[in-house]
């Protein structure tokens, strides 16, 4: 599901507002003895499936059984800013926190009109990513593994996560920002809601995060790459970033990603397109030519032909356009564009 933010439950009108003052007050009177809670839990959960529910969740179990050797036992990005959320606006607060850690100073209030949907009393996940891009950060989804989260934290990069703090029958969606962990203590550290440094056990975190669909992302300055994100996610994030970013920023993102995955055609085309958008025709042509030769890609040949034409190099333009046309059978999606480019090159005054 894409819907997020606390609105999902609040929208149901008289839903269980577990965080509201009246509930908190009642909770204090009920919360007393842990043993009584356990007994009650056994009584309540027994019929629902009992033991399976009470096990340590799978990722936590695997992680604690065999912590990756290359992972430091603890990490915390203590200088991560904190913005206590107001009302239901955990989305803007979490986003401002992550952007601040990436060196982009912005107040949650300034993000509200970019991510908050008043009628839903929440923020959509997609808009969280989009708003990060609008503020100049590359927003990259992470794999849904604790390992990926911890690797980002070890690299000093806070992670925005979506949790469902409650149960699926009465969801309470919540965005929070992981800032650190302590493996020996089985704990994660978060900026969450109105708590500046929440200490949350791995087990409750994994349960609430799993119910949020294992959704997590990092906001990185263009030119940096997340430690654990996949090639596809970084590529998708870079392409989305190009749509709204300054050409120079998009170029930094593409060049960094291409350096890590030099065989990625999309990234190579992105380097060319953003160089062109930044006014560097010769550099863009170089990028397209390299991509064309490496991948024999119709798109790269087309773009190369267009730029050679702009440079007044008609023969080179024609040669590239003919290569693009020759790719017709292999890449039917670009047949029309290749033919149009060749016609344009042939019709251009010499």
């Amino acid at each position: 599901m894409i819907l997020s933010g606390p609105g999902a439950s609040r929208r149901r009108g008289r839903g269980p507002r577990a965080g509201s003052p009246s509930f908190t007050a009642r909770g204090r009177t009920l919360a007393v003895p842990r043993l009584a809670g356990l007994a009650l839990a056994a009584a309540l959960l027994g019929p629902l499936g009992g033991c399976a529910l009470l096990q340590t969740p799978p990722q936590t179990r695997a992680l604690l059984a065999a912590p990756p050797a290359d992972l430091p036992p603890r990490a915390e990005r203590v200088d991560t800013p904190f913005f206590p959320q107001t009302d239901y606006e955990c989305g803007p607060a979490a986003l401002a926190t992550a952007l601040g850690a990436a060196g982009i100073d912005v107040r949650p209030e300034a993000l509200t009109e970019q991510v908050y949907l008043p009628a839903r009393r929440g923020s959509l996940q997609l808009e969280m990513l989009a708003a990060a891009r609008r503020r100049g950060a590359l927003a990259v989804r992470l794999p849904g593994t604790l390992d990926a989260l911890l690797r980002e934290l070890a690299a000093g990069r806070p992670v925005v996560v979506l949790q469902n703090l409650s149960l699926p029958i009465a969801p309470r969606w919540h965005y929070a920002v992981l800032v650190g962990y302590d493996l020996a203590a089985h704990e994660l550290l978060l900026r969450s809601g109105t708590t500046e440094r929440q200490v949350l056990g791995l087990t409750p975190f994994e349960h609430t995060w799993a119910r949020g669909g294992h959704w997590a992302f990092v906001a990185v300055p263009p030119g940096e790459l997340p430690a654990s994100a996949s090639e596809d996610e970084v590529t998708a994030a870079s392409v989305a970033f190009e749509r709204v970013a300054e050409p120079a920023a998009a170029l930094r993102a593409y060049e960094a990603a291409l350096a890590r995955w030099p065989g990625n055609l999309t990234l190579a085309i992105g380097v060319g397109n953003s160089r062109y958008a930044a006014g560097d025709v010769a550099g863009a042509a170089d990028a397209f030519e390299a991509a064309a030769r490496r991948h024999d890609s119709a798109a790269a040949w087309i773009n190369l032909a267009e730029l050679r034409l702009q440079q007044g190099r008609h023969d080179a333009a024609e040669a590239a356009a003919r290569q693009a046309v020759a790719r017709g059978a292999a890449e039917p999606g670009f047949v029309d564009a290749a033919a149009a480019t060749l016609a344009k090159v042939l019709g251009a005054p010499r």
Binding site: F23, G37, L53, T56, Y116, L124, R133, G201, H207, N273
Partner: protein, 137 residues
């Protein structure tokens, strides 16, 4: 309400398609997003193209503006937010707005039960609703 959602979804999809069209018109270059799509990195519904032509007239409609207002958005804000989304994201968004849960009041009669359940599940580390609970593990 559904009508509003439909309008917003259509508007969103159409606006982005339009923005995409503007972008790919530059200099006859193939856009990166188009290559990404061909490479299978992102998938985009081709139906988005059909909605392009409708965008300008849609934006001018009073009922669309009213629908956006109902969602707490001005048309200008919506345009900007939509421009920051990719085609694939818009498609997802349109789907979400159409299918997001609209209500489940039948559950709410058992409010107290849920409260108690959440309290104990908090203590067991399955949930984290109450600030004062501490998991036993």
């Amino acid at each position: 309400m559904n009508r509003t959602k439909r309008w917003v979804a259509t508007l969103v999809a159409a606006s982005v398609s339009y923005a995409g069209m503007l972008q790919s018109a530059q200099a006859g270059l193939v856009g990166t997003a188009q290559v990404a799509e061909a490479q299978g990195v992102v998938s985009v519904d081709t139906r988005a193209a059909e909605q392009r032509a409708r965008v300008l007239s849609l934006l001018d409609r009073a009922d669309v503006a009213a629908g956006l207002q109902e969602h707490g958005l001005s048309a200008d804000q919506a345009r900007e937010r939509v421009a920051a989304l990719t085609d694939a994201e818009v498609e997802q968004l349109a789907h979400t707005i159409d299918t997001a849960p609209a209500g489940a009041d039948s559950f709410l009669g058992v409010l107290v039960f849920i409260f108690v359940l959440l309290l104990v599940t908090d203590i067991l580390g399955l949930t984290k609703v109450f600030p004062f609970t501490r998991s036993v593990r």
